[in-house]
């Protein structure tokens, strides 16, 4: 009896922590859309949203309310069940992946030993939402978008997986907290420096994995209307939207963890370290994540969309060989104990 109670209590605690992660996450997603419109607005010398609330700060909430009250239209000859479940499949892995992300030293929901490949597994599952949405809609544009997305995600997943292999070889662990701790020392100890090509490949692959500009051929407004979610409206559409942004935040957070030392202070090892010691690690983590998110927005405002065959060429013929070569070099470096990173 007591045992069961205790187990229930543990379960409740876990649920509470899950809420503690997801609620701020969803709020950040909402405000990421606001940030996107503002940033792109300023880049294009516009104001961006500025009507709802002070400086347009209530805009995301207004959008959410609007989407909630819209009708959900289900196309007649669609596969009803899959049509409805597809957005759920898109967002679930994006949220589930956060279980292993360490926000600060020891602040992590599940400190598992295979954190890195768990995250890789979760991000690779996200594509099901897109494929099923495209197929279940029974619309040719949606289907084209889904096919493009499937091929693209599989291609870039390989390159991304290889970059993670490089990271795990350097850190000697699949546990994300240990990966961060292995980067301790100073700004120069972070893995962006020894794994620079992998870092670049990772981030570009991450952009491709999340189907963001300039790799957003799965949506491709100008070619296939809106890709896989043409037929979606109302809340179902909103969930896809949420999933896309949640994924962006996730891959940015991962980039921060694996290449920019996660919650570690950038002033570590310098005379400034004690001066900034009062700032909690989580702040650094959020700032680094924010940097990558800004890059996402910047890309979208700057680059024209890639052509599809170019995307495939880049993924298969450039990134995979580059990562393979670098993995071999990392292997040699690790075996030779090259300081300061691999000693």
């Amino acid at each position: 009896m007591l045992d069961t109670l205790y187990e229930l209590f543990e379960l409740g605690k876990i649920l509470f922590f899950i809420l503690l992660i997801t609620v701020p996450l969803l709020v950040s997603v909402a405000y990421l859309t606001y940030a996107e419109r503002k940033v792109i607005g300023y880049i294009q010398v516009r104001m961006g949203p500025n009507r709802v609330g002070p400086k347009g700060l209530l805009q995301p909430i207004a959008d959410a309310v609007k989407l909630m009250f819209k009708e959900i239209i289900i196309p007649t000859s669609s596969d009803r069940f899959l049509f409805i479940i597809a957005p759920v499949l898109a967002i679930a892995p994006a949220l589930a992946a956060w279980a292993v992300v360490p926000f600060s030293d020891g602040v992590v929901l599940a400190d598992i030993n295979v954190g890195l490949i768990y995250i890789l597994a979760m991000t690779s599952i996200g594509v099901y939402g897109i494929i099923l949405a495209g197929w279940a809609s029974n619309s040719k544009y949606a289907f084209l978008g889904a096919m493009r997305s499937a091929a693209q995600v599989v291609a870039y997943e390989i390159a991304m997986g290889f970059t993670l292999v490089g990271v795990l070889m350097s850190a000697g662990s699949l546990n994300l907290s240990e990966i961060v701790l292995a980067q301790q020392g100073s700004l120069l100890h972070w893995y962006w420096l020894p794994l620079f090509p992998l870092f670049i490949v990772y981030f570009i692959s991450a952009v491709a994995e999340t189907n963001r500009a300039p790799f957003d051929v799965a949506e491709g407004e100008s070619e296939i209307v809106a890709g896989f979610h043409v037929e979606y409206s109302g809340m179902l559409f909103a969930v896809f939207f949420l999933a896309e942004y949640a994924n962006m935040i996730l891959v940015s957070a991962l980039a921060a963890l694996m290449f920019l030392g996660g919650w570690l202070s950038p002033f570590q090892g310098t005379f400034l370290e004690p001066l900034f010691a009062f700032i909690p690690g989580m702040v650094w983590f959020v700032l680094k994540t924010g940097f990558f998110l800004f890059l996402f927005l910047w890309f979208r405002a700057t680059f024209p969309r890639y052509r599809y065959d170019q995307i495939m060429r880049l993924g298969w013929k450039v990134f995979i060989p580059v990562t393979l070569v670098w993995i071999i070099l990392v292997g040699i470096a690790v075996m030779a104990d090259i300081p300061p990173w691999f000693a």
């Binding site: 598992i112 030993n113 295979v114 490949i117 690779s124 494929i131 099923l132 197929w135 499937a150 599989v154």
Partner: protein, 195 residues
């Protein structure tokens, strides 16, 4: 608690696996297979085989099944036709099936189960122990398995790639190298007299 979770996932697994072969729509069948993979990964997690569980999700769910769905969705399978002859072959099929089942029951009935077998508890992180095994005891089969994958790849490419370029894909290196002379031809023509 663990028992409840195990039975939950085991039930889902059995249900999904049986739906894979009973459901009519091939896309649904593939999705049930995904569900089956997921539940078996969960069962493995309960056995503390975390690496295998996640690798199953990563490789099979994340990559293999995506490509599988990719192909299945492209196929236009006529469901009615695949069911043709089902009733015709049913008597023979079920007869053979029942026969094999009876034989198996008779044979396996004589099988003593080894009661001493227990769940081995693993202390070392199993990613590490797996890696250790793969590159020592199982090095040889591991390399040969890699050769098999290479052969599969060579075969697939040899059988499908046409050497003559039939695609109209652009070649960036040629586009970059282009000179004015390649595209523009200056022609000297006598002015036509006006009449």
């Amino acid at each position: 608690m663990t028992k409840i979770i195990f039975y939950l996932f085991a039930l889902i697994l059995v249900f999904a696996a049986s739906r894979v072969i009973t459901v009519r729509n091939p896309v649904h069948a593939a999705l049930f297979l995904v569900l089956a993979f997921f539940s078996s990964a969960a069962v493995w997690l309960l056995l503390h085989a975390e690496f295998l569980a996640i690798a199953l999700v990563l490789v099979y769910v994340g990559a293999v099944m995506v490509l599988f769905l990719f192909v299945v969705m492209m196929l236009d399978i006529n469901i009615a036709r695949t069911r043709e002859g089902f009733t015709r072959y049913l008597p023979v099929g079920s007869f053979v099936g029942v026969l094999i089942l009876v034989e198996m029951v008779l044979v396996v009935g004589a099988w003593k189960t080894d009661e001493s077998a227990t769940l081995s508890t693993v202390t070392a992180p199993n990613t590490e122990s797996l890696g250790n095994l793969l590159y020592t005891v199982y090095l040889y089969p591991f390399e040969i398995a890699a050769a098999i994958l290479l052969v599969a790849m060579v075969a697939a490419i040899a059988l499908t790639m046409r050497t003559k370029r039939q695609t109209k894909a652009q070649r960036p290196e040629q586009q970059v190298r282009v000179r004015r002379e390649d595209r523009v031809r200056l022609v000297n023509m006598p002015a036509e007299p006006r009449d």
